[in-house]
């Protein structure tokens, strides 16, 4: 099962190496890992997607928490979260295909961020499934290059907070 682990860590040199090293040394598989600053300059947040059974994940959480500069560890399994990936993708887009491609981009709420004679570069964000789906529809046109961030996530604080304008991850596709 896929778990999204969020770890608040001290913003110090060596922390990323320590976390990554621990995963490698203990044979845990990282699906994706994203590190970024938080509102507190002393802290960074790592969002790590891990695949494993409950026993493995229990160890992952505990071993992470054991690392001294790791301040807090959360596993978002079984709770409502907003999870997002960001992707930049350059698609072959000869003039005759452009209209078609642009309508696809619109369907996925992507944004054209660069355009050349034979390609468009698109920024797409969303849940992983949406990113995968967009990659699939782009394949027939030819993908020139692709870069993805990996997942970041935050738990929804309460179901009650959902306003009608907000859509769940599934609906957004």
């Amino acid at each position: 099962m896929k778990h999204i682990i969020s770890a608040l860590v001290e913003n110090k040199p060596g922390v990323l190496a320590h976390v990554a090293g621990m995963f490698a040394a203990r044979g845990f598989n990282i699906d994706s890992l994203v590190v970024g600053r938080t509102e507190d300059p002393a802290l960074s947040r790592m969002t790590i997607v891990v695949i494993g059974d409950d026993r493995v994940l229990e160890q992952v959480r505990k071993q992470l928490a054991k690392i001294v500069p790791v301040v807090k560890v959360q596993d978002f399994v079984n709770q409502p979260v907003v999870a997002r990936d960001l992707m930049l993708i350059a698609i072959s887009a000869p003039p005759e295909k452009r209209a078609e491609i642009l309508s696809l981009i619109e369907m996925f709420r992507g944004k054209v961020v660069d355009i050349g004679q034979k390609f468009v570069m698109v920024e797409v964000s969303g849940p992983e499934s949406k990113i995968e789906a967009f990659i699939n529809v782009c394949k027939p046109y030819g993908i020139k290059s692709l870069a993805r961030t990996g997942t970041i996530a935050m738990p929804r604080h309460s179901r009650a907070d959902l306003r009608p304008t907000q859509v769940s991850d599934e609906q957004e596709n």
């Binding site: 860590v9 001290e10 110090k12 040199p13 060596g14 190496a17 320590h18 090293g21 621990m22 040394a25 002393a42 026993r55 229990e58 160890q59 505990k62 071993q63 928490a65 054991k66 690392i67 001294v68 500069p69 790791v70 301040v71 807090k72």
Partner: protein
């Protein structure tokens, strides 16, 4: 581990200008350091200059690895934090085995390593190595201090992290420019460790559930590890075991936590543990693990380990719980506090049937060897050592057969008496460990029960023992082989003794050349006399016991077998 808060406020708050090296030495002294081990070198010269007239007993090993093992054993024997210093590059690299040894056995250690100047880092400078990168997986915590302002706080944090919770080695890498930089210190720097929390007091409800399980159990076993010794909880363990009337088995590192002369002691369990401990664990209905981590050498085949038992696990490290074996009642916290609380809630039970069964196993399968043999049996040497030292010596070991025979045939009676590399299994640990233990206990009898090839690995440290006039005793169970390797080759590789036999030096002459006492014992009848003489010596003494070359350690749970599928019981039975 008991938390000792050493109040930084003790230091004068008046501002003074100090170099980094001075800050380090002052903070070490503030942390109660009076003994250190280490080897000098280019980038630690400023630090060693400050150590020149510091009130610290400084032991220089002949190799940094030896120094690290010495500091490790010093910590294990004293309960204090061991401190080791090395220079950058090769010096730091030579600490690796020692740090990994301490990490696996949860030993509180602070290592200080020199580093090249901050601006040279990453340039492949002379004697540069990425020390924090190399040692990250084998330390509890490590860091490099690039700003003198962080120095005092970091040293203080290192001692705190090393000695609390599940202890372990902490390394601080010190670029030489930070050692010589100057700072106007304005009073003690507070620790900043937002990610470091330790649970000490066990959860009250969990303790009550554990007590209830103990009171309901007909066939319980206490399975205790090094954590009980680290937590200084041996007394509390005895109280609980006596009050609830529970037999106690110990891991290799747990030896000493429970008096092995008591009838409730099941001695060591596991691969080369006693048959009665292994049978008891396999048949118990309740297994109470305290400060132990269900290591594969203890559990044998994990799927069939203690198959009928409910498991209580008391440990300060939450990550140890349910790592290898599913736990029914976990209690996270300090063993001393939890055992004390637990003892209050348990009731005495006679458990006659259970103890009768155990007594029967004990009678049928004690640790045994062929006493009628005309050759020197290594087990006989250990037994004689135990007898002549009246169970009181501090014993260190190498790794392999020598270690197992020491664990099987020396009966330990108090904590911090048996010092051995358990988790990592570091050959060469015995001699430097004896030095560290002797430095911590100058009056004690310290014996290194060693193998010839374990001794060969670090024998250079004999010179260190001679220099410091440490009366350590080294008993080499000399069989010419890497004994445990040879045993496996005999059992599993058709007696093809591939690369496990080496030509040894004449240890007696070697000892004498280094300024120690050397004795060779070739006849069985000379063993008691030689040990007697050895115990009288004031200088380091090496005794070369020419033991039976192809003796095996029995019983043995072959890899992948259940604990009760021991080999060698038939051999032991024939010896009655």
């Amino acid at each position: 581990m008991k938390t000792k808060s050493r109040a930084p406020a003790r230091r004068a708050a008046k501002p003074s200008i100090k170099t980094g090296a001075q800050i380090i030495v002052d903070t070490l002294i503030e942390q109660g350091v009076d003994t250190m081990f280490g080897y000098t070198g280019g980038v630690v010269l400023p630090l060693f200059d400050r150590l020149y007239d510091a009130p610290i007993n400084f032991i220089v090993p002949r190799h940094e690895q030896g120094g690290c093992h010495m500091a490790d054993a010093y910590a294990r024997a004293s309960g204090k934090v061991g401190v080791v210093v090395a220079t950058s590059g090769p010096g730091a690299c030579n600490l690796v085995t020692g740090l990994a040894t301490a990490m696996m056995d949860s030993v509180p250690l602070v290592a200080l390593t020199g580093q090249v100047r901050t601006e040279l880092i990453g340039n492949d400078a002379f004697q540069e190595a990425d020390t924090t990168g190399i040692t990250r997986p084998i330390t509890k915590y490590n860091c490099i201090v690039k700003d003198i302002k962080d120095l005092e706080r970091t040293v203080r944090e290192a001692f705190h992290i090393a000695s609390t919770g599940r202890p372990g080695p902490v390394l601080i890498d010190l670029p030489v420019d930070v050692e010589v930089a100057k700072l106007n210190t304005e009073g003690p720097a507070e620790m900043k460790l937002p990610g470091y929390r330790i649970r000490t007091k066990g959860h009250a409800r969990q303790i009550t559930s554990a007590a209830k399980a103990i009171n309901e159990s007909k066939q319980p076993v206490l399975y205790v590890g090094g954590g009980v010794i680290t937590a200084n909880a041996a007394k509390e363990l005895s109280v609980l075991a006596d009050k609830a009337h529970i037999p106690v088995t110990m891991t290799l590192l747990g030896l000493g936590s429970y008096d092995q002369r008591k009838p409730e002691s099941l001695d060591m369990l596991g691969m080369h543990g006693s048959a009665y401990a292994n049978y008891a664990v396999q048949q118990c209905d309740l297994l109470i693990a305290v400060g132990a981590r269900f290591d594969d050498r203890v559990t044998g085949k994990i799927e069939t380990f203690a198959p009928n038992a409910k498991v209580i696990h008391i440990d300060v490290d939450p990550a140890s719980i349910s790592k290898n074996v599913g736990v029914d009642i976990p209690v996270v916290g300090d063993a001393k506090t939890i055992l004390k609380a637990l003892a209050k809630e348990v009731e005495y039970q006679e458990r006659k049937e259970w103890f009768d069964k155990i007594a029967e196993w004990k009678k049928k399968f004690p640790f045994r060897y062929d006493q009628s043999s005309s050759t020197i049996k290594p087990q006989y040497v250990v037994e004689e050592l135990c007898l002549q030292t009246k169970n009181e010596a501090i014993v260190t070991t190498g790794v392999g057969q020598n270690q197992m025979w020491a664990a099987q045939f020396y009966k330990f009676v108090r904590p911090r008496q048996f010092i051995s590399s358990g988790g990592l299994g570091t050959m060469g640990f015995g001699l430097p460990a004896a030095i560290g233990a002797q430095v911590a206990n100058p009056k004690a009898t310290v014996i290194d029960i060693d193998g010839d090839h374990s001794f060969n690995m670090t024998m250079t440290e004999l010179a260190t023992a001679v220099e410091h006039e440490l009366p350590i005793k080294v008993c080499i169970l000399n069989n010419g082989y890497m004994g445990m390797v040879r045993q496996w080759q005999e059992l599993f590789y058709g007696r093809r003794y591939s690369k496990s036999y080496l030509k040894n030096p004449k240890y007696e002459a070697l000892a004498k050349a280094l300024g120690a006492v050397g004795i060779t014992v070739e006849k069985k009848t000379d063993v008691p006399k030689a040990i007697k003489q050895m115990l009288k010596e004031k200088l380091p003494c090496v005794v070369d016991f020419r033991v039976e070359p192809e003796e095996n350690v029995w019983p043995m749970v072959p890899a992948g077998k259940s604990l009760d599928e021991m080999s060698g019981l038939d051999i032991l039975e024939r010896l009655i």
